[in-house]
């Protein structure tokens, strides 16, 4: 049996697959960020907190209303999206004509407040959430838990559907047009502010959906989002701010790179993405899939 840099090929396949699973989370989160940035020009720092709220939403639905995982998978993102839209209507909307920095400060502040509220109520060590799909399949080279397989498939479907809607449908073309020239689109009788609100809600809903998917696999805790969001921002920057396909491809790609780092040099696994970000920014400042505006 041959070995590749000291790692048997079976183990390597396993790690590649694991990388894809992590990449699924990166892809979904960075997709939401990219949609929001692309259409609203807002750097949504509340994204991590909204991901966390999605996970907590699933927990609350289960423990207060008895709604199992599959129901929460639909309900929790909708609830969090509605909260997001209220935030957009009442706060974010007032900042569009100002510099990016104000939106960033507002969303960052909101994230801290949300985290603080959840920590006060539920503590910092998190809450238990049971796996809805226990068991797994032995693929020969690794044991693939059923739930993880489901996460990859679900995430791929959601990502591609989003890409399709924005890039290939009439609704998507309105959205893209509204980004470029909101005044013109409005002149054609389209309610641009409402479209922006719904877009923000959709991006937030994606974050919450990732949160629900994370609940059975990761610790459901108030800080689960802030730990992840920094990496996701790096993913978005590498992919190119605002690029939909860029967010999806880099999300999965970087998951794989990180997964391989965990085998070859685990100590660096939390930094490798930032190293890549630095290199990409030097070579291609607009990101791999971005176009300089």
């Amino acid at each position: 049996m041959f070995e590749l840099i000291g790692i048997p090929p079976q183990a390597l396949f396993g790690q590649l697959l694991l990388g894809l699973i992590n990449g699924a989370f990166y892809a979904m989160l960075s997709l939401g960020l990219a949609v929001i940035f692309g259409l609203l020009n807002v750097i949504n720092f509340t994204h991590g907190a909204q991901y966390m709220m999605g996970a907590f939403g699933a927990w609350m639905l289960l423990n207060y209303a008895g709604i199992p995982f599959w129901g929460a998978l639909v309900l929790s993102p909708i609830i969090v999206a509605i909260i997001g839209m209220v935030i957009e209507r009442t706060l974010l909307k007032r900042l569009y004509h100002l510099d990016h920095l104000y939106g960033l400060l507002l969303t960052f502040g909101l994230a801290l407040i949300l985290e603080g509220l959840f920590r006060r109520q539920y503590g910092s060590s998190g809450l238990p959430y049971n796996n809805p799909l226990p068991g797994g399949t032995n693929l020969g080279f690794m044991f693939l838990p059923n739930y993880r397989a489901f996460v990859v498939v679900a995430s791929l479907v959601v990502c591609l559907a989003t890409w399709f809607v924005i890039e290939r449908t009439k609704l998507g073309s309105y959205l893209r047009a509204a980004t470029e020239r909101p005044d013109l689109v409005q002149a054609f009788g389209i309610d641009v502010p409402r479209m922006i609100t719904l877009t923000y809600g959709f991006g937030v809903g994606l974050a919450a959906l990732a949160g629900v998917l994370a609940a059975p696999a990761y610790q459901v805790s108030p800080t689960m989002g802030s730990n992840l969001i920094i990496v996701v921002f790096a993913v978005v920057v590498i992919g190119g701010m605002g690029s939909i396909m860029g967010a999806i491809v880099t999300g999965f790609g970087l998951g794989v790179v990180e997964g391989l780092t965990k085998v070859f040099y685990p100590e660096a696994s939390s930094t490798v993405i930032f190293v890549i970000m630095a290199i990409v920014l030097m070579v291609k400042p607009a990101g791999l899939f971005g176009t300089a505006k």
Binding site: A11, I21, G123, R148, Y218, S269, T271
Partner: protein
């Protein structure tokens, strides 16, 4: 002239009498994680415990005027040291308590020695605090990596778990825990087949768990804490690690971690703690008061250690009638035997280590638990004289001098 002398004498008598009655000021600073992954096991609960100790000690009646303040070190050594300096230099803090996170604790211990104040650690694990990094100003109250290794590590090797693979948190604490446990494993006839260093605050352990799985070690030692331990255990259930015949050894698991995991996932884990709320009447009484003030939560061993450490510190200050000379207070703490409702009778050893029994627990099955926070069954008591690193093995310079 004579009148002036008489007046002066009279005045000095009054002043002296006043001084005798004047209260000795003591300022206690609880420095810990208030917002991150260790906030539940210490956090505000530790602040409450310190205040409770001041109250139970009856400080005011004994001539001590005690203030308790707190701050968040955010698990960053630089934040921790700058707060410690600010407290010692500007705010007049005499003693710092708790300080979970071994990295921060080692840094604060250094500042405390430099300023000749007192540091009573409850939250951090590294045995280096009373080992090669010991100082005449530091007391390590609750537990340490040596005691954890000696408790959980030994118990598991003795039940046949003789090959180990470590998932180690990549900082001072994880390294110390892996080192101390490896030693115990080797001494008891076991073998360490591998280890992987995992960055702190990692969410996904799948990759590391697969590496552990393919190592074929009988035991996977989790040399991590808090959220990292929770995620490792949660995900190992997904990957069927335990069904595959491997055993998980959570080397540092707090009550709050078990609460967070839920008994369904955590059942059957073997763990070592210095204190459990539902063990004695005195503990339960403390826990009830704690729960009433902290939204129904039960205290962890770290919070209990802050309580007991504060109590013992105040006894030493009362005896000296001053909190100003840190080394003198710690010397007094080592001289007086420890005796408090939560940890019982014991001593603070010359290296700063507080000696008390440790306990080996098993996490209950969901069916055995009577409700939230009823989580442990006592498996064994490790007597005080065996629970901590013997002085003969110590690399603390204070021990070699003596």
């Amino acid at each position: 002239m004579r009148l002036a002398a008489v007046l002066l004498a009279a005045a000095s008598v009054v002043v002296a009498a006043g001084a005798a009655k004047a209260q000795v000021p003591v300022k206690i600073g609880v420095l810990n994680d208030q917002s991150g992954l260790y906030a539940d096991l210490g956090g505000q609960g530790s602040v409450w415990a310190a205040k409770k100790a001041v109250e139970d000690f009856g400080a005011a009646a004994k001539g001590l005027k005690v203030d308790v303040i707190f701050a968040d070190h955010q698990n960053k050594a630089d934040v921790g040291t700058s707060i410690a300096r600010q407290w010692y230099d500007v705010d007049g803090v005499d003693v710092i308590l708790d300080v979970p996170n071994s990295g921060v604790a080692l840094a604060v211990s250094g500042v405390t020695k430099e300023k000749n104040k007192v540091f009573i650690n409850s939250g951090a694990a590294t045995s280096d605090l009373t080992g090669k990094a010991c100082t005449p100003n530091t007391v390590h109250w609750t537990y340490d990596t040596w005691a954890l290794a000696n408790g959980t590590g030994k118990a598991i090797v003795k039940t046949g778990g003789d090959t180990w693979f470590f998932l180690t948190a990549d900082y001072a604490f994880g390294h110390a825990l892996e080192r101390d446990t490896s030693k115990v494993v080797a001494e008891n006839g076991g073998k360490v087949v591998g280890s992987v260093k995992v960055p702190l605050n990692n969410a996904d352990f799948s990759s590391f768990l697969l590496q552990a799985q393919s190592s074929k070690a009988k035991v996977i030692g989790l040399a991590n804490a808090g959220g990292d331990t929770i995620n490792s255990i949660k995900q190992s259930a997904e990957y069927g690690i335990v069904e595959g015949g491997q055993k998980l050894a959570g080397l540092l698991i707090f009550l709050t971690d078990v609460h967070s995991l839920g008994l369904k996932t955590a059942q059957g884990l073997t763990l070592t703690e210095a204190w459990y709320w539902d063990q004695t009447d005195a503990n339960r009484k403390f826990a009830d008061a704690f729960a009433a003030a902290n939204g129904g939560k039960r205290p962890t061993m770290v919070q209990a250690g802050v309580y007991a450490g504060t109590l013992h510190y105040l006894k030493a200050v009362e005896a000296l009638k001053s909190a100003k000379d840190g080394a003198a207070v710690v010397a007094k703490m080592k001289e007086i035997p420890t005796d408090d409702p939560l940890f019982g009778k014991g001593e603070v050893r010359v290296d700063g280590r507080t000696i008390h029994p440790m306990y080996l627990y098993e996490v209950k099955k969901p069916s055995e638990s009577k409700g939230p926070w009823d989580y442990y069954t006592l498996k064994a008591t490790i007597p005080a004289n065996e629970a901590f690193r013997p002085l003969s093995e110590s690399d603390c310079p204070l021990v070699k001098k003596g």
